[in-house]
Symmetry: D2
Subunit: 92 residues, 4 copies
């Protein structure tokens, strides 16, 4: 993945938040918190991971399906956007 520095920082911040969520699951299991709490934390981490995947898939579609330097304008932006809408629906 080639990203601007700013994009990279955003992705890293996202994955670090997910690590924090997984650590919270670990603490909850260790403290024998009730199932409800644990299930809630797992569902939250799963949602965050799906959000990260959506961003990475989006980057992949925009940056790598077509080499924009060799083939400028070849990617059909509208078709790409329709695809990403479907992906987001399924990643929820």
């Amino acid at each position: 993945m080639t990203h601007t520095t700013r994009e990279k920082h955003k992705l890293l911040a996202r994955v670090r938040r997910i690590r924090g969520q997984v650590e919270a699951i670990e603490r909850a299991l260790d403290a024998e918190s009730d199932c409800e709490q644990v299930m809630h934390l797992i569902a939250g981490a799963r949602g965050a991971l799906a959000g990260l995947m959506a961003v990475v898939v989006e980057d992949h579609v925009r940056e790598h399906l077509v080499d924009a330097e060799k083939h400028p304008g070849a990617l059909n932006g509208e078709a790409a956007e329709q695809l990403l809408e479907v992906v987001r629906t399924y990643l929820k």
Copy 2:
């Protein structure tokens, strides 16, 4: 979607099977079949619908992200295949 006649027939056969599966759910509910049976039928229809979506998304990626007549060779086949693998994982 532009398809060869053969592809179109396969897609139609697929969606008709799904209609049959939904009709089976309807009959099971009408006959007050047990929950297990109904849940099993719904899970089957869901899987078949996910399979149909995977085929349509695959067509979309291969046919519409790049206009192959105007930009021959612009779609990175390997990157497209990686994307479709992720999509299939999430569509399961």
Copy 3:
């Protein structure tokens, strides 16, 4: 599944709507509608099927996990509700 007549009618109405959605997918494929339209219709049918599953699972949890005549009050309503919340999250 044992249901009151009213519940049964609601479930049947739901599954008939889904059949209508699947028939719309069939017509769209037959008419060679564009991918976007087809993907949108499939995503809609999938959501409706997930909604039906959520209702059936809810019935199953409330009616069949415990035989309420033999064991009145044995089902922990709060724990059942927590379970159903998780199920709904994953069925979306």
Copy 4:
């Protein structure tokens, strides 16, 4: 969640593996690994998290839907197993 010590150790080992998977995503993003690698790692972490959720939901169904001391034998084991099968299908 009340667990035997052995069950708790297994759950903790599972969540620690997931933390390791999330850390691998972080390293891959930091090293600007290619999208394919990152998407693969995210899909793996998602699968592992779904597996953890399945175990916790299973515990919840078996241990908390019915207070087995107050209502011994009230939970219909077969109905519970059917529910868990559906949950596992959707958690995949």
